[in-house]
């Protein structure tokens, strides 16, 4: 039995009918065609599905769409400042070669967004800890850490 719900994603309001057991991940990808958010393990281990709900990083695969009605949802598609200007985290990931196959990247970037907002000047150890819930299977962590350090600098205005 479907329920009519209102979702606010990247500033846009949607009114859609969804079954209560549909996850936020399924609704974003299949109903709203926002396929930037990936689905990896489906059990909260890999972090490829990470999105922000009211500014907090969560696994969209373990979140029901009906549960996040009325909340602000941000996905990788909503991060860039405009069509021609990427977010500094996205720029740093490209510049530092932190993207290989790219499947983990949206989740990595959303986790980084949440992390840097709470900790603008992190140490390498803190970055590693922040990525506890994000797996990269191309073994690219070194460059991802470089990119996060670089993004932190950019976001503080180059200091």
């Amino acid at each position: 039995m479907k329920q009519l719900i209102k979702l606010k994603v990247n500033g846009d309001e949607y009114e859609i009918a969804v079954a209560p057991w549909k996850t936020l991940n399924e609704v974003l990808r299949k109903e709203l065609n926002l396929t930037g958010t990936k689905l990896g393990c489906g059990t909260g281990d890999c972090g490829a599905c990470t999105v922000l709900v009211d500014g907090k990083a969560v696994n969209s695969c373990l979140t029901l769409a009906v549960e996040v009605q009325g909340k602000e949802i941000t996905t990788i598609e909503g991060l860039a400042e405009s069509e021609d200007k990427l977010h500094p985290i996205q720029e740093s990931f490209i510049e530092k070669g932190a993207v290989q196959c790219g499947f983990c990247t949206p989740g990595m970037i959303m986790t980084t967004k949440y992390f840097l907002e709470n900790n603008p000047s992190p140490t390498v150890e803190e970055i590693k800890k922040a990525l506890d819930g994000n797996l990269c299977r191309c073994t690219g962590y070194v460059k991802i850490i470089d990119a996060i350090q670089d993004a932190a600098k950019k976001m503080k205005g180059g200091k």
């Binding site: 057991w21 489906g42 059990t43 909260g44 969560v58 506890d132």
Partner: protein
């Protein structure tokens, strides 16, 4: 998958719905229950979300006690000054639990009611003498010491309709310190192979005036190591005495061989960690 979903705004409404739908489940953060549903290990007809119940959220303190609402997320606790100041063993557990994505939605109530023998918040709560505050189906409240709440692996003494309101913890006394440490195979997103929590009060001449030891993943439920506590109380604190206590703890727990590790290895970890955690707790006791 096929279930109805409700998000009641009050405890009364939640209990009413639980009575209406026999094969239903309460759900808080959902990080465990959704995995079980996806694996088809459980097939509830209805889910009753507890996320809108402000009555079971937040942290309150008075002179002697701190009350932690069951619906408080693990991340909120980790960021709480009260937790950091009074309950460092709980803080030790929180920062090494799961991932930040999970901690942003998972709740302390969920971790306890789920009753995994390896529940990370359990042994810290045990050493702070936590009482579980439960709202019964007639809306009256009852209290139960946490060590009497666990029944067996994944089982607690909680009736179908009852809701855990929260946990009542004693504030630390002067000259006391506490810590928690767990052994993990990898350093991220891992469950404890074995863990030790300790709360110690040091008196004049380094005499142990009070001691509480909690163990994780080495028995059917999280447990207090009462034999170890009896051995340590009123003794003079030293590394040697902790070593002897470790030998008692390793015998009084009852781990099993499983996917996480071998029985003998878990016993050795417990022995080593009694000393390690004891030293940290002692240092913290000296700081206050």
């Amino acid at each position: 998958m096929n279930f109805r979903y409700f998000k009641p705004g009050s405890v009364g409404e939640a209990i009413y719905l639980k009575k209406e739908y026999k094969n239903s489940k309460y759900v808080a953060g959902g990080t465990d229950i959704f995995v079980l549903i996806k694996k088809k290990a459980i097939k509830p007809d209805a889910l009753i979300s507890l996320r809108n119940l402000n009555e079971i959220k937040g942290i309150e303190e008075n002179e002697k006690f701190v009350f932690i609402g069951a619906g408080t997320t693990l991340r909120e606790l980790e960021q709480s000054e009260v937790v950091r100041k009074y309950f460092p063993a709980l803080y030790d557990a929180l920062i090494n639990m799961a991932s930040v994505q999970i901690r942003n939605v998972g709740t302390i109530g969920g971790n306890i009611v789920n009753a995994s023998p390896g529940a990370d918040t359990a042994s810290p709560l045990l050493i702070y003498d936590a009482k579980v505050v439960i709202i019964m189906d007639d809306f009256k409240e009852r209290e139960l010491p946490l060590d009497e709440f666990f029944k067996g692996p994944k089982q607690v003494f909680l009736a179908e309709e009852e809701i855990v309101k929260g946990f009542l913890l004693k504030k630390p006394v002067k000259n006391s310190g506490s810590a928690y440490y767990k052994f993990m195979k990898r350093n991220a997103m891992d469950l404890a192979n074995a863990g030790v929590a300790m709360n110690i009060k040091i008196g004049d001449d380094d005499i142990i005036e009070d001691i509480k030891v909690g163990l994780t993943t080495v028995a059917p439920t999280p447990i207090r190591a009462t034999g170890t506590e009896e051995f340590l109380i009123h003794k003079k604190f030293s590394e040697e005495i902790l070593e002897q206590a470790g030998n008692i703890a390793k015998k009084e727990c009852s781990p099993i061989d499983d996917i996480r590790g071998k029985e003998w290895h878990k016993r050795e970890i417990i022995k080593a960690y009694i000393k390690r955690v004891g030293m940290i707790a002692y240092k913290r006791a000296k700081l206050i």
